[in-house]
């Protein structure tokens, strides 16, 4: 059964005012559990609005959202439980930290779930370990940490709720290359270790290409496609016309192909490209 399902989901900002704007237009999606999913799209294409429907923060103007087969907004009291099931990490989550220590801040989610102190303690340590936050840092104030550390604490705060689906809006934005790498790797590890569904909204095609199994492409409030990574990046021309990019290596291969060199077109990560060339060389010998 799909873990997230939307039916003709539409969301309009400021309905009935002169500033009316359709942010999400008639989207029907079914997301199978246990996958790593990338969400890409131009700024203002409705990515962030879409994901805020998945945990009931926004109420659809029309259409339905189902989580684990359960329709949202039927019973408002159940929305909180949905938010524990679908963990959402906003962009720049480090700005939501508020407690005296990182430990207490990570505890905020599990405490809201009504878990016992001992269970909370276990979860905090698990989450801290997953994001690579040491015991020593846990006892520090979040405001003493570096940007990358703060962000990892904030992500741990959501992971500690052990959501079935973890959604992150631009988790790596504003970090240096090393920080980006760390965050994305830890998310990949989290995905492999827990087997939960992870959804990452990103601007970086390289990142999405490397980590995602499937990709949701949004364009002007509409769903352009939801397909396997390789299929998505084979649509180079369409992506480019949407103002999106493809990984640089894909551009290289497309250009080579245009020059009349007979090679595979759908290459989207550098390691794969290396392997591919090596195998070509092997074949020549």
């Amino acid at each position: 059964m799909s873990v997230i399902k939307t039916e003709n989901l539409t969301y309009i900002y400021g309905a009935g005012t002169p500033f009316e704007k359709t942010a999400v237009d008639n989207i029907s999606l079914e997301i199978e559990p246990g996958q790593m999913i990338g969400v890409i799209g131009h700024t203002g294409s409705g990515k962030s609005t879409l994901i805020q429907h998945f945990n009931g923060l926004l109420k659809p103007t029309s259409g339905n959202v189902y989580i684990d087969g359960e329709r949202l907004w039927d019973d408002k009291a159940k929305l909180r439980d949905i938010r524990f099931k679908v963990g959402l990490v906003f962009q720049y989550p480090e700005y939501q930290l508020f407690e005296e220590t990182c430990y207490k801040d990570i505890a905020f989610g599990p405490k809201n779930m009504g878990l016992s102190d001992s269970e909370t303690d276990i979860r905090i340590h698990e989450a801290a370990q997953m994001v690579g936050i040491s015991e020593e840092i846990l006892q520090k104030s979040p405001f003493e940490l570096s940007g990358g550390q703060k962000r990892r604490v904030a992500i741990a705060g959501v992971m500690a709720m052990k959501p079935k689906v973890l959604i992150l809006d631009e988790p790596a934005s504003g970090l240096d290359p090393k920080g980006r790498e760390q965050i994305l790797t830890l998310l990949k590890d989290y995905h492999t270790n827990t087997g939960s569904t992870v959804m990452i909204v990103s601007h970086s095609m390289e990142d999405v290409a490397r980590y995602a199994d499937r990709i949701i492409v949004m364009n002007k409030a509409k769903l352009f496609c939801y397909e396997e990574t390789e299929k998505v990046f084979s649509k180079v021309d369409e992506l480019m016309s949407m103002g999106l990019s493809v990984p640089q290596i894909t551009k290289v291969f497309t250009a080579l192909k245009e020059k009349g060199i007979d090679i595979q077109k759908d290459v989207y990560t550098t390691p794969f490209a290396v392997k591919y060339f090596l195998s070509l060389l092997e074949g020549k010998r």
């Binding site: 923060l57 938010r83 990490v89 700005y95 939501q96 905020f108 405001f143 959501v158």
Partner: protein, 268 residues
């Protein structure tokens, strides 16, 4: 909820009223207020009411908004009216008498008079903020208060503080929205529970909001310093305020009404 408040809100437009020099508008608004309080009779007040209406029409601000700005002060209007009706017991005709309650014609007249005066006052002065952008307004205030610099009042700094405060209201509202969503996503519950519980639920919102305000303030201060901002001395403006013939007309227009009010006061 927050967006319902219209007092102090600016509605961009290109009407004659919008185009007036903000300094002139502030002074004329002051004159208008004096005019309302000079009016001693219903006739005089009628002129004030007429002035409010005509100016509203000239500004092409929908009349609906006039109603909207009056809504929050409705309780005050009703309260003053009741006080006037009940406590003014002198007068020739008595409409109603029961124990200590005595309603007379004078009481009723005063009540209506005061209510109309307050309505004109609020509607007329709201027009100032409706038709003038906050930036233009603070600019004008700075210029009008500049004589106070002679007695060492930091006029420019005060105006700059006001401008910055106004500039950051929408930013902070947006920020608050974001933080609320983020904490809700972690299961924060702000809608149910006792008063104390709800007050406590505000902590996860207020702390990040304060922190980010300080961060923004620091960033802004740094950015201003980088551009060599050093206070008001020797500072020139991008947009110079200029009086035009239009402003003269506006002054004449207000004066005519004011003269009307005074004349009616003398006649009746």
């Amino acid at each position: 909820m927050i967006s319902d408040i219209t007092i102090g809100q600016y509605f961009p437009g290109r009407s004659v009223v919008h185009k007036l020099d903000p300094r002139v508008k502030i002074i004329l608004t002051a004159v208008f207020i004096v005019m309302l309080f000079t009016a001693g009779t219903f006739y005089g007040l009628g002129v004030g009411l007429l002035f409010t209406f005509v100016t509203f029409l000239l500004s092409r601000i929908p009349l609906k908004l006039m109603g909207k700005c009056l809504k929050p002060i409705l309780p005050i209007i009703i309260f003053t009216a009741i006080i006037n009706v009940v406590f003014i017991t002198s007068g020739d005709k008595v409409y109603f008498e029961w124990k200590f309650l005595k309603i007379t014609d004078e009481g009723v007249h005063t009540a209506i008079f005061m209510a109309v005066r307050i309505i004109c006052l609020i509607a007329g002065s709201s027009l100032l903020t409706y038709t003038t952008s906050p930036i233009a307004l603070t600019d004008a205030i700075e210029r009008l208060l500049s004589p106070l610099k002679k007695i060492k009042v930091p006029v420019h700094e005060l105006a700059m503080m006001m401008t910055i405060a106004l500039r950051f209201i929408p930013t902070l509202i947006e920020e608050t929205d974001k933080i609320i969503s983020a904490q809700k996503a972690r299961g924060a519950d702000m809608e149910t529970g006792s008063l104390i519980k709800r007050a406590k639920a505000l902590v996860p919102i207020l702390v990040p909001l304060f922190v980010s305000s300080f961060r923004r303030a620091e960033d802004l201060a740094l950015a201003m310093e980088c551009r060599c901002y050093h206070g008001g001395d020797g500072r020139t403006r991008l947009k110079q305020l200029h009086m035009s013939i239009r402003d003269l007309f506006a002054a004449v227009y207000v004066c005519v009404f004011f003269a009307g009010v005074i004349a009616l006061n003398i006649i009746f």
